[in-house]
């Protein structure tokens, strides 16, 4: 007998230990998410993947699948909430899609399109965040950071380097790098690191290849983010 739960009326099989989003992905069903990446331990911070489990809201990336549970995801109410969360992420940082090198390859932007976010809605915070261009090959543009900690997890768990970490608290939380100078150039970061290729937005950028793929031909220009359960972005 196969364990299943229902997701928006569909029967989703799962294996022991899988979380809701993992099972949904395996079944080819998209649940919006940003801080979740199937290659890493779920984190549960962005809350985009919030679903209703038996009527109660929960993060589908960390909620263990159980036989018979009734999960709602693609509903007006939940999508309205997800849109507000996206708007929060947009106003918290400085996101200027038209001039951003990641436009079309950005999960934040693509998810906003997916959920029909027409404006940031809230007043912009316009935080003052410096760019770190110290590294010869890579650039860190903290303006776009959504604090998903994927680079933190990748560097710690895959690269065994701890190049990235979160510091500060609350709205002053920020990404830092592992160097006394605070500069990426003074860390052991390199382009082959997992952490170099995991940012869902445009913080960690390779230098001197800007706009190699023209806007209009990028991953999410070709198909919406929901077309695959977990987006795979084109290698640049």
């Amino acid at each position: 007998m196969i364990n299943t739960f229902t997701l928006d009326g569909m029967s989703i099989p799962f294996s022991e230990g899988q979380t809701i989003i993992q099972a949904a992905m395996a079944a080819g069903v998209y649940i919006p998410h940003l801080c979740f990446n199937p290659q890493f331990k779920p984190h549960g911070s962005c809350k985009l993947c919030t679903v209703k489990v038996n009527g109660r809201q929960s993060s589908s990336c960390t909620h263990q699948a159980l036989s018979g549970m009734v999960v709602e995801s693609n509903t007006t109410q939940i999508n309205d909430e997800r849109r507000m969360l996206l708007q929060m992420l947009f106003v918290e940082g400085n996101h200027f899609c038209p001039s951003c090198e990641k436009s079309g390859n950005c999960q934040l932007q693509a998810t906003a399109y997916e959920l029909h976010m027409m404006s940031p809605h809230f007043d912009q915070f316009f935080p003052d965040r410096a760019v770190d261009a110290s590294h010869p090959e890579y650039l860190l543009d903290f303006n776009r950071c959504i604090l998903c900690s994927l680079c933190v997890r990748a560097s710690r768990d895959v690269d065994s380097k701890n190049v990235f970490a979160l510091s500060g608290r609350g709205i002053k939380s920020r990404l830092i790098v592992n160097a006394k100078s605070g500069l990426l150039a003074d860390t052991d970061f390199c382009g082959d690191d997992k952490a170099a290729n995991v940012c869902p937005v445009g913080v960690i950028l390779k230098k001197r290849i800007g706009f190699a793929v023209p806007i209009g031909q990028r991953s999410f220009d070709e198909q919406p983010i929901s077309a695959s359960p977990h987006p795979v972005m084109k290698e640049v």
Binding site: E81, M84, L85, L89, L147, G168, R169, G170, I171, K172
Partner: protein, 598 residues
């Protein structure tokens, strides 16, 4: 350079030798105690010694309000910013000190001598306005006392040489019941435990129907039993003395006067669940209690009530360490507290699993409130049936309330569960009461028509905070203060709480600035729904409560702020020029836009 590093090694090595890497927060606190802040070279040394990445150490240090990576000045003045401090004049006192000492709030003075800022409630609401100077509590501030402090700072008198009377802290115990009146003999509960046996003592705790005093009210007996049954190589007992809920200060008084009862409750728990190690997590604001608590622990070791072979039983070994917090309200949440105990950023964990099965170092752990452990000592002594007979059906025993605000006799009141709000108000000498905020900003705000309600899990559950507001108070400002508190204390882990608490603060400020409209009301309600449904922990869930409760019950306080019928942007060009005015030292008509003067 080499000499610099040696400077840090000299004080860090003795600290490092006594601690494990998981004690990182304690190491950082001690390092700062010695050097005044956590120097960049000190981080290098700690990083090398503990084999921890520098980014992790900076990440932890950056989380806690009381840790500094830059020199904060020789005098660090922090005004407690609870609404009760504000009601007793803290804002004017802070302004006065800033102007006397020529310093801007939150900034280091030009001569690097001092900084003056606000901090979340320091737990002295019955004797405010309160402040911390270099981490030590000073209460009952008056203009005279503030002037004297300015003079001491100007003369650069070391804080240790300041008048002792500044640092005196009162207990203000106003009403005693079974716990505060128990004349507890140290060792008596443990003797009862050994006489009765471990299993039977657990049965007594269960029979007492004791529920956690931190507010959530989980059955203590069930928690201890679950932990006892959970698989693990080691078990831990943790006492949550991170009493951060604004308006609460009963744990401070319990630890000051009844520390034996608390430690004995922890030891009982240890025996029942099979723990050898316990922690008391003491909020940084109460560090003045540290020496006293260490002395009590030491005496208990000498009395054979802690350490190896407790009361002569060869298989009864248990000891308690005290860990200090460093200014983070969220660490009162049990899983965040455990993270902090492990030397990490105080981010609440994903639950389940719960601490009873996966707590400290992922081992089964009981986390209970200070008052819960003290109550457990009483139950071991007097039996479960006795305790269950006090209070109400679903809430056995007594509850200690921290009463503050507009009343004649603020302080500590112990009542059997079931006492009405009206009774408490009567006893504390409150008159013309407009509202009572129960269980702090994350609790409930009740109006006079509800004063017949009872303090009990089945009606109004509370961690103990009881703040009284008379008819002269502006309930909008009460809510705004609480919203700013949540913004400051949000851990920043999840999107809705991190950003939502800031949005909410901005909206309340917008109303305060006279730009409110019914549109903003609708926005606040939308935010509330989002925070309640998607936040990671209780902080986000309750961050909108103060606003919603006051809107529902004290609508006129908001109506006066709704200057506009239709939406108005919060941006005001004249206000945006305030920085330019400050920089040029001007405030004349010509430095203002015409529009805003009419």
């Amino acid at each position: 350079m080499v000499c610099q590093i040696n400077t840090h090694a000299a004080y860090l090595d003795p600290i490092l030798i006594r601690h494990r890497p998981s004690d990182l927060l304690q190491i950082l606190i001690l390092a700062q105690d010695h050097y005044g802040y956590i120097h960049s070279d000190a981080i290098d040394h700690i990083s090398a010694a503990l084999k921890l990445p520098r980014s992790k150490i900076e990440g932890v240090a950056g989380f806690y309000s009381f840790l500094h990576l830059q020199p904060p000045g020789a005098y660090r003045v922090l005004f407690s910013d609870n609404i009760t401090d504000r009601m007793s004049g803290s804002v004017a006192l802070m302004e006065s000190m800033c102007s006397q000492l020529w310093v801007e709030p939150g900034k280091l003075s030009e001569d690097n001598l001092l900084s003056i800022d606000t901090t979340s409630c320091t737990g002295m609401c019955d004797q405010g306005p309160a402040m911390l100077v270099n981490g030590l509590a000073i209460n009952r501030l008056t203009q005279d006392r503030a002037n004297a402090i300015c003079e001491l700072i100007r003369e650069q008198v070391p804080v240790s040489a300041w008048p002792a009377v500044f640092f005196s802290i009162e207990d203000n115990i106003q009403r005693r019941d079974i716990l505060l009146d128990s004349h507890f003999q140290s060792g008596s509960s443990l003797a009862a435990l050994l006489l009765r046996g471990t299993d039977e003592t657990l049965q007594q705790i269960k029979a007492s129907l004791l529920r956690g005093r931190g507010g959530a009210g989980f059955s203590s007996g069930a928690k201890w039993e679950l932990c006892r049954q959970a698989a693990g190589d080691a078990r831990f007992v943790v006492c949550n003395a991170d009493e951060g809920e604004p308006g609460t200060f009963k744990d401070r008084v319990l630890l000051n006067n009844f520390a034996d009862m608390v430690f004995e409750g922890m030891t009982l728990c240890a025996r029942i669940i099979g723990a050898k190690k316990g922690f008391l997590y003491l909020r940084g604001e109460y560090r003045y209690l540290l020496n006293h608590l260490q002395a009590v622990l030491q005496r208990r070791r000498q009395q054979g009530l802690l350490g190896n072979d407790i009361l002569g039983h060869a298989d009864f070994n248990f000891d308690i360490d005290i860990h200090l917090g460093a200014g983070a309200y969220i660490c009162g949440e049990e899983s965040a507290l455990i993270e902090s105990l492990e030397g990490k950023r105080g981010t609440p964990r994903n639950r389940p699993p719960f601490p009873v099965t996966h707590g400290y170092l992922n081992m089964p752990t009981v986390v209970n409130n200070v008052e819960t452990f003290a109550a457990a000592s009483l139950i071991a002594l007097n039996g479960g049936a006795w305790y269950a007979g006090i209070g109400t059906g679903a809430s056995s025993g007594t509850k200690i309330l921290s009463v503050s605000g507009d009343c004649d006799c603020p302080g500590i009141y112990e009542y059997p569960y079931g006492v009405t709000v009206a009774q408490v108000l009567d006893d504390c000498g409150a008159r013309d009461t407009q509202a009572v905020q129960i269980s702090g900003p994350s609790g409930v705000c009740i109006a006079p028509d509800e004063f017949g309600r009872r303090i009990a899990f089945e009606d109004i559950p509370t961690a103990g905070s009881f703040m009284v507001f008379d008819k002269t108070r502006d309930m909008f400002e009460v809510a705004r203060n609480f919203v700013h508190f949540f913004k400051h204390e949000s851990c920043g882990f999840c999107t809705p709480c991190r950003v939502g608490t800031s949005l909410l603060s901005n909206m309340m400020d917008k109303l305060a600035n006279g730009y409110g409209s019914p549109y903003d009301f609708a926005e606040i309600e939308k935010l509330n729904a989002l925070l309640q449904s998607t936040s990671h922990c209780g902080l986000g869930h309750s961050a909108c409560n103060p606003v919603l409760e006051t809107i529902a019950k004290f609508r006129p306080a908001y109506d006066t702020r709704l200057a506009h019928k239709d939406f108005v942007p919060s941006f005001d060009l004249d206000r945006a020029l305030s920085q330019a005015r400050q920089m040029t030292g001007r405030n004349d008509t010509g430095a203002h836009l015409e529009r805003s003067q009419d």
